[in-house]
Symmetry: C2
Subunit: 406 residues, 2 copies
């Protein structure tokens, strides 16, 4: 597997772009991915009971048709909690995109992100889609523009591409994602769009995506709020022309590993770019009785506002970590736990067999000053290890979110 | 029922005081409640798997002996995650208190609040308890000093007393509590100590306490973090000399109502005084299928960092409220929901039957500027109504918690 420059435009058959259409102030706010030859497409969506209109529309579309040719995304307005009109607006976006590209509206998926409860400015969206469909291309810049158009409070572009070798044929996977706030994916994620030119059976694509999402996007948390608009879409053009993969052989595993690297890397980027974040936090839970117990403990630590503010303040207040593990619903025995804190260079032991250790405050301080903080907790109960990612909680989180609408 | 001046010293038979012993810098940090004649005492404790030493010691004590005569509390150090030594220190506190008051150590309960993972300065504690046991009294000031001694980042004293009439006999209930951070009680609460001179059967006292706690302390959240030290203790001296209450008659109900008023009022005070809080938030969930569904939705809204920061920023970003209801595990149909926002004077409708309403931004702004914000959500599914309380999320929460240890 090798990392290559690019993003969603890297796999064969895909074009993309992003423009400013006027939904949002002063930033690109409309993106399009297009594959003329069609794709096999699978997706995962938010488990929030309140589903945004584009989520509802895509679920319907994918139930009937997996040959998707285009995906249109706007930022600025989430088109969530917008009732019947919102649903019709999302449908209209697929229709306008279909007409502009001369394809059917049920070959188009749609996504939105931004403020909840406001209606889309459909005149601007219409004009924007028409313009955008004429500006598609497959240069690295085109991919970047598309990745820019889906950003909200994100501070950097999140895209990535890798190349793998499948039976002598080079196969590419590209992706773009956005995160920042209302980040606590559950069974799906923020917006993440993955393209590939692999030739693979739909059920296997679906399986690879589901399994990877569980351990990547679903293991990050910025603020514990699961969005109404979360979605991850995987589109496979088949234009890499490898022999069709239709069982879980070595090639399937190779693809799955590459896909998982992409998803994990983007998930970490989303965590690191959480609203107001200054540090990436990785929580490793080792020795859990079950994976589920490990995940509960991992997420509880990642979500604790007290842990997050302590890390922002560079204060190794580890009691809060143990308290957060304790109020999670995950099983463990507090008297057996080992706890340590590390960055990429140094490590200190904070607890051994449930009892506090004496540690060098200086080394602790050095670790806390890093921009990657690794919290490792060994439950010594079983053989399940899990990892998750989050970020610290700063003054800027409050600043950003106290006036998001204005 | 009438409100009276005072706190834990108001019911007959109780003395108290609070002093500075040196655990904490520059503030009272050690309190004692004493009832020479003995009491019938019941308690509820944190459900966090990681239980602080005083919680473990009290659970053991109350399993064997309900005739409690004294309760000693320190602030500054939580004596949590302190292993065997911490357990022995908590036992030692009951022993020293027992010796100082000439009672048995198993007639003493103990509580701690403060930093997790540090050991108590036992020499200072010992000296403090000896001094404190000579300074007990039952004046209003003595009650206030005791309430001061249990504060951590609390900005005001939380105490209260009421008087009720039981069969012609005046019966009093007094209480003191502390909250501020790591506030998300579960089956218990922060530190809350309630005294009464009622003469009542132990099982009934226990029942009244449990039922009241479920709808008061267990319905508040400051930051979603359930502490290792939560406890609520109810001590009844019986010295009011009413005829023993041993069934759920009118007198029992009268007492329970008064107790619930005390618990609810203190719970709201704790929510209002949440770290960095500028506003009290009340969430009313109406028409839930079950009480449990209502509570899940209520707590999810109260705990949402995005809702809390929006309210701090006085931004009626109601989409976040609906999103938080949606990712709770509570059942409802998003297409039926009514949502409104009010203060004590005005109300605006934000959603009707799941569709956004057009509302006056000016009225919304006026409501958002209040220091009490009421969020009311009608699910229109059943007959269960629940209420809960929390606070907004400000820059100061981050400031306070980024450097709590130092």
């Amino acid at each position: 597997m090798k990392l290559i420059k690019g993003g969603v435009i890297s796999p064969k058959g895909f074009m993309a772009s992003g423009i400013y259409s006027g939904v949002k102030r002063k930033r690109k706010d409309l993106s399009l991915i297009y594959c003329k030859g069609g794709t096999t497409t699978v997706g995962m969506f938010t488990t929030n009971k309140v589903k945004a209109a584009p989520v509802l529309v895509n679920e319907e579309t994918l139930n009937k048709n997996n040959n998707i040719k285009a995906l249109v995304i706007n930022s600025g307005v989430a088109n969530a909690c917008t009732g019947k009109k919102g649903y019709e607006d999302a449908k209209e976006m697929t229709k306008i995109t279909g007409q502009s590209l001369n394809i059917k509206s049920n070959e188009v998926l749609v996504a939105s992100t931004g403020v909840i409860g406001e209606f889309l400015p459909m005149d601007k969206i219409e004009e924007g889609i028409k313009k955008l469909s004429k500006e598609l291309g497959n240069s690295i810049d085109h991919g970047k523009w598309a990745a820019e158009g889906i950003m909200t409070t994100d501070t950097f572009i999140k895209e990535m591409a890798v190349e793998i070798n499948i039976g002598g044929v080079p196969i590419k996977i590209g992706a773009m994602a956005k995160g920042s706030g209302m980040i606590h994916p559950n069974m799906a994620t923020m917006l993440s769009f993955v393209t590939t030119d692999i030739n693979m059976d739909k059920e296997l694509l679906n399986k690879a995506l589901k399994e990877s999402v569980e351990d990547s996007y679903n293991m990050i948390s910025v603020d514990g709020d699961t969005s109404t608009n979360d979605m991850v879409i995987l589109m496979a053009s088949g234009q890499g022309k490898n022999d069709l993969i239709n069982n879980e052989d070595e090639d399937y595993k190779k693809f799955k590993d590459a896909l998982h690297l992409i998803n994990t890397t983007l998930a970490k980027k989303i965590a690191k770019d959480g609203e107001g974040a200054t540090k990436l936090i990785e929580v490793q839970v080792k020795g859990a009785i079950s994976k589920d117990d490990g995940k509960k403990i991992c997420k509880s630590i990642l979500m604790s506002n007290l842990v997050k503010t302590a890390i922002y303040g560079e204060d190794p207040n580890w009691g809060r970590i143990i308290a957060a593990a304790g109020y999670s619903k995950g099983n463990f025995n507090p008297h057996k736990v080992d706890l340590s804190l590390s960055n990429s260079e140094e490590e200190i032991e904070l607890m051994k067999d449930g009892t506090p250790c004496i540690f060098h405050e200086k080394t602790a301080k050095k670790i806390m000053e890093s921009d990657l903080i690794i919290i490792s907790i060994d439950l010594k109960e079983g053989n399940n290890h899990v990892k998750g990612w989050g970020c610290d909680f700063s003054h800027d989180y409050v600043k950003i979110n106290a006036s998001y609408r204005s």
